[in-house]
């Protein structure tokens, strides 16, 4: 019998290894899944969950402004209570939440920024991806051009837009002021700065969307387009009924992560304007953190995370409705 075992050229793995690999292959789906996930969980556990746990305990302690200790006595949820009741607003660069000054309180600014930038990025990123999905001469270079902003460090991105709206340096400020679009000092005006920061963010991170969506587009089975064409779908209908639903999981993931990232915006604000002009949630974390109010900073960080979690829930619930690959 010419079975595989007898064939030439076959090298049998050493018994131990083979036995191990067989045992692994035999695991139930669940055991196999957890086994595979273990290195990842170990890494994330040590480098993410453990520090978060420590930070969480820190958030239950008072700030320690004096002395060499990093945090003060245990105060339970006081830090959270103080934050949500506005008791420590005085110590924050801007209040956590104040509807009277939507552009000056962290929660509203963060929401405005997130919704505007993610919406714009998705649309523009999709457009860019569609352009890149076509074959044309010089596509590689167009792709370089579209990716380039994403490769710009935030400090530089911030510098570009700071200088672009710096009166005296840039040619843009005066005409914009004359048109009544911006004030004469846009980077210290909360509304102007928010808009500038949104533009800067869209400029840089549309590429993120574009790259991901492009990858999604490229993995669509081309024969489905043939079917759709024969069935009578126009270009737009093909896009809406075939492309869109098939890349939807990718787009959702991209939007999800963009949302999470936008909700944590900080560096861009600090370089283009300042945390006191455009206070975001992360701004509060960083400013309290650099003022060594570690307990408060930790509490703000966890509240930020909780707010993001709420936002994300919206995605997940919305997405679960449209049937899922991811969840």
């Amino acid at each position: 019998m010419a079975a595989e075992t007898g064939s030439t050229g076959v090298q049998r793995k050493s018994g131990v290894l083979a036995g191990l690999s067989r045992r692994i292959e035999n695991l139930s789906d669940a055991a196999f899944a957890y086994l595979l996930l273990s290195p990842m969980l170990l890494l994330i556990g040590a480098i993410a969950f453990w520090p978060l746990f420590r930070t969480f305990t820190m958030s239950l302690h008072a700030d320690a402004l004096y002395g060499s200790q990093q945090f003060g006595p245990f105060v339970g949820l006081d830090n959270y209570v103080a934050l949500l009741t506005g008791d420590i607003d005085a110590q924050l660069t801007r209040p956590f939440f104040d509807l009277d000054q939507p552009f000056r309180s962290a929660l509203t600014v963060t929401f405005i920024f997130t919704i505007a930038s993610v919406a714009l990025e998705t649309v523009i990123g999709f457009g860019q991806a569609l352009v890149l999905d076509r074959e044309f001469r010089g596509r590689r270079w167009v792709r370089v051009a579209i990716i380039l902003p994403w490769a710009i460090p935030i400090v530089i991105q911030g510098m570009i837009f700071f200088l672009l709206f710096q009166p005296g340096v840039s040619f843009l400020v005066e005409p914009l002021q004359n048109l009544g679009v911006f004030s004469g000092t846009p980077t210290v005006n909360s509304v102007d700065s928010t808009i500038i920061i949104i533009i800067a963010d869209v400029w840089k991170t549309s590429a993120f969307m574009a790259l991901l969506i492009l990858a999604g587009l490229q993995s669509v089975d081309r024969s489905l387009y043939d079917v759709a064409r024969v069935e009578g779908a126009s270009t737009i209908q093909r896009f809406r009924m075939v492309t869109l639903p098939i890349v939807a999981p990718t787009v959702i993931v991209a939007m999800l992560f963009r949302t999470i990232q936008s909700m944590r915006v900080y560096g861009l604000i600090e370089t283009v304007s300042s945390c006191s002009t455009v206070p975001s949630l992360s701004c509060l974390v960083v400013t309290t953190f650099s003022a060594r109010q570690y307990g408060t900073a930790a509490a703000v960080a966890f509240v930020t995370a909780a707010v993001i979690a709420l936002f994300v829930t919206v995605y997940i619930v919305g997405y679960a409705d449209t049937e899922s690959e991811v969840f």
Partner: protein, 308 residues
């Protein structure tokens, strides 16, 4: 129908109505042009800044006030900028490799296996990205400076965490952990879409389940894998928060490129032209590298992957 006396525009429109392909082509050109213009303009301005002599840094218009390409040389004279770039590239590559490996495995697990606890686990992973980096910093810094002791041996000596500060480990580990969730989610969606039949075929042919992942599923998801890699690489290349707190900023201590750029922030003066020049130098090669790499990755994974 176009008549003889119709202008070229009307003729074009009439033509486009008859032949929608033409209209789409025109739309395409307009869209491509728009995207190019909007993405490139700020970069162009960056070049203008880099070329503007430092003392003329007022009223910079569409053309540089004066022309001073020296900035591109000065960058290397003042700081070992190439070393910073190299550090970042190495850190980026190592992190990307780790992330792609772990995220591929996790993406496979989440995208193609059904098991109890899957959704909660994914949500937990996602939660890592909810937190501002500052939330990780203090404990991680203690961990990486040998200030966390795991246990005390009977003799009284303590087993403490290794001192990773100023080593690549102090950067690669947090980068890997923090950029993992994004890649996992990306790869989960891509791997989930590969038809079962192909994985089955590979397994019957003799791969293990993981073998099928690396030999069939990953190559077929090449665009997604490449994108996850590129996103991770660039994110690492530009990451600043950990880059600046986990090293002391010296090129020989693995400080990343952003440190190099920030070296031009003086006590009072920000040397904008040097920063601009530095970022152009830092960015252009990487962007090109990334695009070339991406094409290579895609074609490498899809075509030649198994011509071992």
């Amino acid at each position: 129908m176009a008549t003889d006396d119709a202008g070229p525009y009307e003729r074009w429109v009439a033509d486009a109505i008859r032949n929608p392909g033409k209209a789409y082509r025109a739309m395409f050109v307009v869209a491509a042009g728009f995207f190019l213009l909007t993405t490139l303009f700020p970069l162009y301005w960056l070049v203008v800044l880099a070329l503007t002599p430092e003392e003329n840094m007022t009223d910079v218009g569409l053309l540089p006030n004066g022309f001073n390409p020296e900035a591109f040389v000065t960058v290397f004279e003042t700081v070992p900028f190439h070393w910073y770039m190299l550090n970042s590239i190495v850190l980026g590559l190592v992190t990307t490799a780790i992330v792609l490996l772990l995220a591929s495995i996790a993406g496979y697990v989440f995208g193609r296996l059904e098991f109890p606890g899957k959704v909660p686990l994914m949500l937990l992973l996602l939660a890592v990205s909810y937190f501002p980096p500052a939330a990780f910093l203090l404990p991680l810094f203690r961990l990486f400076t040998g200030n966390v002791s795991f246990l005390t041996l009977p003799g009284g000596t303590e087993v403490t965490s290794p001192v990773l500060f100023n080593t690549p480990g102090a950067l690669v580990l947090p980068y890997s952990a923090l950029f993992l969730p994004l890649s996992i989610f990306i790869l989960t969606t891509f791997y989930g879409q590969i038809p079962d039949g192909l994985e089955k075929a590979a397994r019957v042919e003799g791969t293990t389940r993981l073998g099928a992942l690396f030999r069939v599923i990953m190559p077929l998801s090449a665009p997604g894998v490449a994108t996850a890699g590129v996103l991770t690489f660039i994110a690492v290349y530009n990451e600043f928060f950990f880059g600046y707190l986990m090293t002391d900023g010296q090129a020989q201590n693995w400080a990343p490129v952003v440190w190099g750029i920030l070296q031009f922030q003086g006590q009072y003066a920000d040397l904008y032209n040097l920063m601009a020049a530095a970022s152009i130098i830092g960015v252009v090669p990487v962007a090109i590298l990334v695009v070339v790499a991406q094409e290579r990755i895609v074609s490498g994974l899809t075509a030649g992957a198994l011509k071992e």
